[in-house]
Subunit: 403 residues, 2 copies
C-alpha cells in the first residue's frame, strides 16, 4: 500500500539523490568512549548534520535485528515483511548471480555419504574453500540436464548455489537435507502439488542423480543437499515505481545483489575501497539520478568487535564527503542498514543514525552526526521504508496527495 | 502478524526479564506541582533511568484511553485490537476465575421484577455487596443443570459472573437485559444459528428459569439479566510464543486474570502490598525468567484524585528498587498500563512513561524518570506492543530477521 502510494505520487524530475550507507552504522558505548561515531572525528559529516534533518530509523521494527538483505530492501523503500527474500535467492544474490524472473535458485551444502548412501557428514568435513571451488567446477563441467539451464556458483567452504533457468518452473520444493547423519538425503519433493513444482522436483532429482555420479570419487564432498529452493520474482524497479534511474556503487556481492533486485545499475569498475567508490560516483554522476553508495567495513569491523577499525573507516569516509558535496546533490541521506555495535560483535536491534540533507529539509538544531546528538533530531525514529519517500520529497519528486 | 514474527525470531536464553508496572502511571500537572512522578522523590527510579533507554508508550493508539484488560495485553505483546476481551471474559477474569478453553462466561446483573414479570429496577436497587454475595451464594447452592457445570462468582453490589463449562458450547448469545424498566427480561437468543449457540441459549434459558424460582422471595434481587456472553479462547502463551517461563506477581484479581491469559504462573502467597510483592519476587526468582510485577495503588489513588496517595506509592516502591537491582535482572522495563492523572480522576489517553534497562540498551541522556525528563528519551513514543519485543531484544533472546 505505502509503496504503491509513493509510486503514485512520484513525479519525474532533474534532482539527484544520494543514499550513503555505512553498513552496521549504529553502535553502543565502548568502555566509556562513546559509540564509534562519537569517538571518531567526522567534521564533514557533522557539518552535513547541521544542514540536515536528523534522527534514526528502524529497518524492520522495534527490537528486531535485521539481516543485511531485508535491511537494504527497507532502505530502498520495499517493506521487508512484504517482500521476503528466500534463502536460495539470498545465496544467489550473495555471489552476485544475475537472477531473472522465473529462475529457481537453491542453496547447496556439500556432504559426505558412506557406501550405503547414508550421510556421514552433513558439511563434508567443512572442506576448505579451494576444495569447494574445485568440486563446484567439476560439477559444472559435467552436469547435463536437457530442457533447463543449470548454473553453479561456489559460495564458501562446503556451500554453493545452484540456479535452474527454464520455462514453467516452481519454487515450492522441500529441503533434501535430512537434518541428521546416518540418513539418506531426501528426494526433492514438491511442497504443493502443481505441474511447475513437479517439473522442478524432477529436474532437481536428475541433478542429484548426476551429482552423485560426478562426485563419487571425492573423498569428502561426494554428495550434496539442497535447501531454500525458491522461485525468483523480481521487485518492481525504481524506474517503474519512482521515475528514478538508479546506480549502485558497492564492493561486496551481496549488496550488488540487492541493488539488482531494485533494478539499479550496478557499477562494476573493480572498486574495492571507499575512495574508489567515490571515484566511480564522480565518473557516473551525469548518467543517473539516484546513487546508492555502500561502505561495508563499518559492519565488518563491528562484527569483529574492532572499535578502532570502525572509527578508522568513519574517518576515512568522512574525509571523502567534500567530494560528494562538490557534486552538489539535491538530496543526501546518510545512514546505515542496521546497527552493528562492536561490543555486541553482531547486528543489533538499535535504531540507526540517519540524516537527510536538502535545501528544503527543515534542518533541526543537531550539529553532530552521532547517536547522542541525533536524539534531539527533527525526525525522531522513523521506519526504514520512510527514507526513500523522504528523499523523493526533498528532491521535489512527489506531487501532493489529493487536491 | 507482528506477534507471529516476534515469536518466530524468539530464541531460548538464560537472561531474566522484569516488567514492573505501576498501574495508571502517567499523570498531569497538579496545581503547579508537576505530575505525581515529578513531585515524588524517586532516586532509585531516576538512577535506573540514567542507565536505561527511555520514553513513552501508547497502549492502544493516539488519543485512545485504555481499559486495564487491553492495556495489559498490550504490555504483554498481544495486539488488543486483534485480541478483544469480551465483557463476560473480563468479568470472570476480574474475579480471578480460572477460565478454560471453551468456557462460556457472562456478566450477571441482578434486577427487580414485579408480579407481572416486568423489570422494575434494572440494578435491583443497587443492593449492597453483602446482599449481592448472599444472593449469589443462594443461587450457586440451588442451581442444577444437567450436562453442564455452572460456576457463579459475586463481583460487586448487583453484579456477578457466571461461567458455563461443558462440551460444544457457543458464545454468540444476545444480552437478556431489555435496557428499560417495564419490560420483561429477554430470552437468551442465539446471534448466529449454530448448534453450539442453540445449546448454550437453551442452557441459559434453563438457568434463568431456575434462578427466577430460587430468587422469588428476595425483596430486591429477585431476578437477573445476562450480558456479554462470550466463548473463551485462550491466548497463545508466553511459553509457546517466546520460550519464556513467566511469573505474575499481582495483588488484584483482574491482573492475575490477564496474566493467566498470557499463560503466566500466578503467584498466590497472600501478598497484599508492594513490599510483600517484592518478597515473592525474591522467593520465586530462580524459578522463572520473566516476571510481571504489578503495583495497583498508583491507579486507585489516581481514580480518587488523591495526588498525595500517588506520590506515596511511588516513593514506597522506589525504596524497594534496590531489592530488584540486587537480583541483577538482565532486563528491567518500568512503565504503566495507561495514565491515570489525578486531576482527571480516570484513566486517560496520555502516553505512559517507560524505561528499558539492560547492559545493551543504548542509554540516552535522561537522568530522571518523569513525564518531562522522558521527552528527551531515546525511544520517543512507541506502541505498547513493542515493549515485549524490546525486552526480548535486550535480553538477547531474538535472532535476526533474514540474512
Amino acid at each position: 500500500m505505502q509503496m504503491e502510494l509513493i509510486s503514485k505520487l512520484a513525479i519525474p524530475g532533474e534532482s539527484k539523490l544520494v543514499l550513503l550507507v555505512f553498513d552496521g552504522l549504529g553502535g553502543l558505548d565502548n568502555a566509556g568512549r562513546g559509540t564509534a561515531l562519537e569517538a571518531a572525528a567526522v567534521p564533514n559529516l557533522d557539518a552535513l548534520a547541521k544542514e540536515s534533518v536528523t534522527g534514526f530509523h528502524n529497518p524492520i521494527g522495534t527490537g528486531i535485528t535485521p539481516g543485511s538483505g531485508p535491511a537494504h530492501l527497507s532502505l530502498f523503500g520495499y517493506d521487508p515483511l512484504r517482500f521476503p527474500i528466500g534463502r536460495g535467492v539470498l545465496e544467489a544474490l550473495g555471489v552476485d548471480f544475475p537472477l531473472q524472473k522465473g529462475d529457481v535458485p537453491a542453496r547447496i551444502n556439500f556432504c559426505t555419504i558412506g557406501p550405503d548412501g547414508n550421510i556421514t557428514d552433513r558439511r563434508a568435513g567443512r572442506i576448505p574453500s579451494e576444495e569447494g571451488a574445485r568440486v563446484v567446477q567439476k560439477l559444472a563441467e559435467n552436469i547435463r540436464i536437457s530442457g533447463v539451464e543449470v548454473s553453479l556458483r561456489h559460495v564458501k567452504e562446503y556451500r554453493a548455489a545452484v540456479v535452474l533457468r527454464g520455462e514453467g518452473l516452481g519454487g515450492a520444493i522441500a529441503d533434501t537435507d535430512p537434518q541428521a547423519v546416518g540418513k539418506k538425503p531426501l528426494p526433492p519433493t514438491p511442497l504443493q502439488d502443481t505441474p511447475e513444482n513437479q517439473k522442478t522436483a524432477a529436474l532437481f532429482a536428475e541433478f542429484l542423480k548426476q551429482a552423485e555420479q560426478i562426485l563419487k570419487d571425492e573423498p569428502r564432498a561426494n554428495m550434496l543437499t539442497l535447501r531454500g529452493v525458491d522461485l525468483f520474482h523480481p521487485l518492481p524497479s525504481f524506474r517503474e515505481l519512482y521515475h528514478l534511474t538508479p546506480a549502485s556503487i558497492a564492493v561486496y556481492p551481496m549488496y550488488k545483489g540487492v541493488s539488482r533486485l531494485a533494478g539499479m545499475s550496478v557499477q562494476e569498475y573493480g572498486q574495492d575501497n571507499p575512495e574508489q567508490e567515490f571515484d566511480i560516483l564522480e565518473k557516473v554522476w551525469p548518467d543517473f539520478d539516484y546513487f546508492f553508495v555502500h561502505i561495508k567495513k563499518t559492519d565488518s569491523y563491528g562484527e569483529d568487535g574492532n572499535f578502532e577499525g570502525r572509527i578508522h573507516v568513519l574517518e576515512e569516509v568522512d574525509a571523502l564527503i567534500p567530494r560528494l558535496r562538490a557534486l552538489n546533490p539535491d538530496v543526501i541521506a546518510v545512514t546505515g542498514d542496521h546497527s552493528t555495535p562492536s561490543p555486541l560483535k553482531s547486528h543489533s536491534w538499535h535504531p540507526v543514525p540517519l540524516m537527510v540533507y536538502s535545501k528544503h529539509c527543515r534542518a533541526d538544531q543537531v550539529t553532530a552526526f552521532n547517536e547522542t546528538a541525533l536524539l534531539q533530531g527533527g525526525l525522531g525514529t522513523i521506519p526504514g521504508t520512510s527514507i526513500l519517500p523522504l528523499m523523493l520529497a526533498n528532491g521535489l519528486r512527489m506531487t501532493k496527495f489529493g487536491a
